[in-house]
Assembly symmetry: C2
Homo-oligomer: 459 residues x 2
Amino acid sequence: MSRIAPLSGFPEWSPAERVVESHILDTLRRTFELHGYAGIETRAVEPLDRLLAKGETSKEVYLLRRLQGADEPDEPDATSDRGTAGDTLGLHFDLTVPLARYVLENAGRLAFPFRRHQIQKVWRGERPQDGRYREFCQADIDVIGDGTLPFHYEVEMPLVIADAFARLRSIGVPAIRISVNNRKICQGFYQGIGLTDVDGTLRTVDKLDKIGPDAVGELLRAEQGATAEQAEAALALAAISGADTSVVDRVRALGVTNDLLEEGLGELARLIDAAMVRAPGVIVADLKIARGLDYYTGSVYETTLVGHEGLGSICSGGRYDSLATDGKRTYPGVGISVGVTRLVSRLLGAGLVTATRSVPSAVLVSVWHEDSRPRSEEIAAALRARGIPCEVAPTAAKLGKQIRFADRRGIPYVWFPAQDAAGTGEVKDIRSGDQQPADPSAWEPAAADLWPGVRAGDA
Amino acid sequence: MSRIAPLSGFPEWSPAERVVESHILDTLRRTFELHGYAGIETRAVEPLDRLLAKGETSKEVYLLRRLQGADEPDEPDATSDRGTAGDTLGLHFDLTVPLARYVLENAGRLAFPFRRHQIQKVWRGERPQDGRYREFCQADIDVIGDGTLPFHYEVEMPLVIADAFARLRSIGVPAIRISVNNRKICQGFYQGIGLTDVDGTLRTVDKLDKIGPDAVGELLRAEQGATAEQAEAALALAAISGADTSVVDRVRALGVTNDLLEEGLGELARLIDAAMVRAPGVIVADLKIARGLDYYTGSVYETTLVGHEGLGSICSGGRYDSLATDGKRTYPGVGISVGVTRLVSRLLGAGLVTATRSVPSAVLVSVWHEDSRPRSEEIAAALRARGIPCEVAPTAAKLGKQIRFADRRGIPYVWFPAQDAAGTGEVKDIRSGDQQPADPSAWEPAAADLWPGVRAGDA
């Protein structure tokens, strides 16, 4: 039998840690729904050829095969590993490929623009490292149009994320910075200065943070055939960032003229204008942001936790003019995806957020004797009927032991049933020692004690 | 490229159907937490040897391999498909095997008895059919002890489930019947009448519903070597069922004496006694219930939707004296598992439960002109700040078109911003046509309209 041990890349949380993750997930879901995004889930598997259609992720896919699959040759078997890529199933590595398939499969039944959120696990067979997992949770929002999709949805995406994270500040989640760019700016600018390999240039410029401007300039000259002036101009564009629309003026000051560039600058200005009003200080333009730009066609986003920039982006996305197409119709979309596991892992690992207790119970109902357990159960049922989470002591141990049972789990109250049928029970706040007569049909815990909460850690 | 089509055995819901599933899941989670069960999630994968340790499910397991796994021979690779069963990973087919591993892995950090709920997808490579899926959602509760686990937790399991389903009655979920048995009764009874192959006898009696008592009696004689009298006695035991403790008297009236039988009857009586008080009419003793009894060691449960008995059990479980063991310590447990996908699939398929709308938005804020979109966004932000889900119209189309946009999605209210800065906006209930001046910092929708709800369908 294999050793009992954690699997690298497959994080699991303790019950108290899961309270933190659940709070984050509930907050994201609630914010997404306040903004009108309908929740869906898709199956965990997709045909391999769909997973590979983007070309770049083949290494990361987990394939499935049934242990005894070969025993059933007569079955119309979508899970065989002996067939073509269309017959083989793999675990999805993001929620965008499944969304594209879901939209095509259900196009006739969906109302467009289709606003959906999706919070699910995804799997990538990558080498695990800090912030990178083989199984992790993503929380995505996307808006999908039928044929067209107005630009204003590109403004909306980072504002929804800003709203969600604003709701998380009070529990100790650091501030975020959402960096935005627009592919049209880069593409138009490069074309305007005579660089034709836009994707190659983007990929090279994307290395700025890793290798620095001198090395990027060298690569642009060596690999993209850029002149010294072209390389300098591309680097000058990438160096521009800022939280207001002066970034647009600074791009124009570089003196490049191109229609696509102008379109991109207009869009970026609209986004930044809205951000200054609705999420001041959160959203900044950063013209070196690339994010796999051969996929995106307009705005792109990436997000860092302030003070934890080394963690990488915790929330990324962008506009894609062709999320899906069935040959007749094309569905453009814009979306953004929160890397929940990466975020939660850092919040827990750095002690930024902590749960107030590890169990849901606000009350432990004690048991005097095993014979009186039904009376304790009755009290618990009365509390639950009023929405108060509780549990009954496991044994009729000495009261000190029952109180320690509650204390170890962070359960704040212990209920002592009346010892005779006529008497009234009492409830003790085991933190303060305060003990009062109490009626299970009327007593209320302090509001902050009702459910496990989360708060800023001591880190 | 593979055809866009549903995959048999991998159900997916529309946004409106997902509202129903989410309501069910939220109700289960909330009920479990009211009863003090802490939520955890485990990774989707386990080493193959752990998945196969129970011996009977090997056919059902989906194995994983990385598409490019062979390219990385230097990696300490837990996911290779060329190693031993301990190196190979498979998707979990239930939440009990992962729980056993989680308990062993975290034993030193968990507080026992450990009450946990777990709501996750599981995968089985079975041939799909009505009520059987290759990917489905389970919602489990278990209580795990360290060394010992008092019997009263076996009473608790079906009562928590009864509580959860009682909360679902008002939305159209049919009544449930939880059938309970106790392995000690069967084992003690069979031993008492001289049948030594207890597991074989149980497996044969388990076929009663399929092949009837005559055929079962014949098999008992042919395969278990039972005499006519032994077969008759076993069938007489299996025929006993009822909602009160008279079932115990009827077993005793069969005249078999055995200590284990007596212990089982005492336990069953305690369970039924509690059920009559706390969940009258829901829990019945049914002495033919078997449920893979070579695994269970005490109470066993299975649950049918009244009127939908052909669907099979929607919630099953039982007591297992050895959930997990590390050689030094043994962890007994009792648990019960709701088959959420089977349940939801029937509720939707039979039109028993329906969502009040398919999107979260209670309000569509209309847009007069694209230039005035910021004003509409401001109104939406004010509503959201007060917890009212809403969205802004996708385009400044004619008002009739905007109202139809809301109508198609079931959004009950359309907000018309003031056309001049000084004016007040108005909100229209598009069902009644009622239109009133409204202030986004004060207006409230009818409580029933705030979020999408679920209600009994027209079936």
